[in-house]
Point group: C3
Chain length 163, copies 3
């Protein structure tokens, strides 16, 4: 019986790691639909209460301030023209109740008879397990325009300690 | 023993949810390779027998009619020019034997010395568990051109009841 | 007790299949950040010791030769201009200690006030389970320019036997 219980305990641990990964994949996949449908509540629900989003200027701090990005003139202009905030499949590093995810985000905007990539960014997400599921603690992105900051976000050597 | 069996039963339930998510991720990821290699059988295998695909005109109803899209002039022209039907990582909501997935699809077509996004759509997939695995019951997409229908597909408030 | 042990054994098998899928998803998602941050060690860590990467000319054979692609003039020029190597969600077929993954790769490069897709390829990955986790045994890609080789990579009928 003890051997069986050990196997069960091992299964529970391994399963939790997979649930964590899939929850984080799903969380990040919900960002684009939230902002492109101008749904501030859906954006807020992704972030932890004091979570932040730093996309190059003054960081937005607190989930309500992050959600308010849907009312920025630049965002309204994207949506009016026709926009897709496409986020790539992230590389995820789990560490207990914290996780780091690294991926790309692109904003495609209708232009003429097609869509052009108006933004292409490197992203680093710091995520945390809460009573309400995995949430974004901080998201930082920078334009991949050949300058150093974006490359640093993608680099393993600049990974903050998630332990 | 009863406690161990309860834990096993719980594990089986949790594992099935993860299997469902990964099956749906893999299903949606197989669409692009199927249509870009002009493989009608591979397209048909994704859909439920009476499943549908509505991309703006008259919906294609029934898996064979969906698969016939590979013979449309527009599709043949894409493939001849060089095309990639790229589908983003979906946000998935499971509900027993049904699921909703929301994501973006883009068609990149060779043009000059690069590839241009000829289509960029919001997608809502209704999926169902069958004896042959998860299949597409309906897929609806609309161009993200600034008009309302595409935004509605991305919006949580327009989610059909999957219960 | 025997029935419970059978259930545990089944759970272990099913769980391993999911771990394999998520490990492969994460592996492929780490390619872009590795090359766009010019981290040769991170590229090498993805490949098996004798693994290869064939992107149209002479294949790079051996993980060190694959990693050396970060020093190619074309790659350096991408990174200086500002580049995102974006890989789509793969369709994965598992077979024991081997797997095949099929997806798209695109290189977006800063150009004017946006980013253009300078490369759009069909990809077939052959992966293998090693003591150090899942690694790339071979990656083959071809430009989706309307010619046959790229379509063959996407086609099920050209799948090598992974058994």
């Amino acid at each position: 019986m003890s051997a069986a219980q050990d196997r069960i305990t091992q299964l529970e641990k391994r399963l939790t790691l997979l649930e964590d990964r899939l929850a984080i994949l799903n969380l990040i996949a919900s960002y684009g639909p939230a902002v492109d449908s101008v749904d501030g509540d859906a954006v807020a629900a992704m972030w932890n209460e004091n979570g932040s989003y730093d996309f190059g200027g003054d960081p937005l701090i607190g989930r309500d301030n992050v959600a308010a990005l849907i009312d920025l003139d630049t965002h309204r202009a994207y949506v009016s023209a026709g926009s897709a905030h496409v986020l790539s499949n992230p590389s995820i590093t789990l560490s207990g109740d914290r996780a780091i995810a690294v991926n790309y985000s692109q904003v495609f905007v209708k232009s003429g008879d097609g869509w052009r990539a108006d933004r292409t960014c490197a992203n680093r997400w710091e995520l945390t397990r809460t009573a309400g599921g995995w949430k974004v603690e901080s998201r930082t992105n920078r334009l991949l325009d050949g300058s150093e900051p974006a490359r640093q976000l993608l680099s393993r050597s600049h990974e903050p300690d998630v332990g």
